[in-house]
């Protein structure tokens, strides 16, 4: 099944909003680290509900934001939420694929992506595309919950028809460098807010032990890799 088929269905049954709520706990900390200046242009890859751009438009002096998504229903929802939140913000949504970005060389100051990068058909090509569209000194904030060290994510592929790439932290660093990006930072951003029930309530529907849930959210959290275009 294609990205479009899989994720249009998600958008249609409201999972865009559900993801926003869950991902926000760590995405907000990631977004707060972006050194966005007055006048900057920001790209959000796999924008989903578009929350990242709405948040940046609200909290920074950025000039414009572009949300790219392969699923037309995602882009449609994101556009509507953005217009409802602030019709004056210069946010644009486009349908497109991670493999061939429809942006000019050296045209963007920052690229962000949350829980989307690993769906790329060819992640190495996507990194080269990101390096191409970023201006010199531009940053790429790549955040994922699905990665090698997060053993609790390993079975996610079973539930989704799109192929997922499961790199470890070191593979992210190596791939960034191979694509010509400097690696500025790597970090595990903890989700300190998700509710973890008391030990007596385990096993729950999703978790065998409280320890596993603590490790997943409070320790492993979201793997962030930050690249900089030379």
């Amino acid at each position: 099944m294609s990205v479009r088929d899989e994720f249009d269905a998600w958008a249609a049954d409201g999972r865009d909003k559900g993801m926003e709520e869950r991902h926000w706990n760590t995405a907000k900390h990631v977004l707060a680290r972006l050194p966005v200046e007055e006048g900057d242009r920001v790209l959000d890859l796999g924008t989903g509900s578009g929350y990242a751009l709405r948040a940046l438009a609200d909290s920074t002096g950025m000039d414009r934001g572009y949300g790219l998504d392969g699923a037309p229903e995602m882009a449609r929802n994101a556009r509507e939420y953005a217009r409802a939140a602030d019709p004056d913000a210069d946010l644009g949504f486009v349908v497109g694929d991670f493999g061939s970005l429809p942006f000019a060389d050296d045209s963007l100051d920052h690229a962000f992506t949350m829980e989307a990068f690993y769906y790329s058909g060819d992640p190495h090509e996507t990194l080269r595309e990101v390096a191409r569209v970023l201006k010199s000194g531009g940053t790429f904030y790549c955040a994922v919950n699905y990665y090698e060290e997060n053993v609790h994510s390993h079975d996610w592929q079973e539930h989704i028809s799109v192929d997922m790439t499961r790199w470890g932290a070191d593979e992210y660093r190596a791939a960034f460098r191979e694509a010509g990006l400097h690696v500025a930072e790597q970090d595990n951003v903890a989700d300190t807010e998700v509710d973890i029930p008391p030990a007596a309530e385990f096993p729950t529907d999703s978790w065998d032990t409280r320890e596993a849930m603590v490790e997943r959210y409070r320790e492993l959290g979201t793997l962030l890799t930050v690249g900089v275009a030379p």
Partner: protein, 63 residues
């Protein structure tokens, strides 16, 4: 999509500039373009704008 935002949008295939043809635009000063076509100035490939959203998927992924 506001017209001003289209300046850095390009053909996903060969990264050349796109020509804009507007068929529907919202009222007002910086009214969004809701329908139209983007045509690559190099390869001639066309990309539709529908409901304010340009579809810039490579043609073979458009379904």
């Amino acid at each position: 999509m506001k017209e001003s935002l289209l300046d850095i949008v390009c053909c996903p295939l060969d990264k050349h500039d796109l020509d804009l043809e507007v068929t529907e635009r919202e009222a007002g000063e910086d009214g969004e373009i809701t329908a139209g076509t983007l045509t690559c100035t190099d390869c001639g490939e066309t990309y539709p704008i529908e409901d304010g959203i340009p579809n810039l998927l490579p043609p073979d992924m458009r379904e």
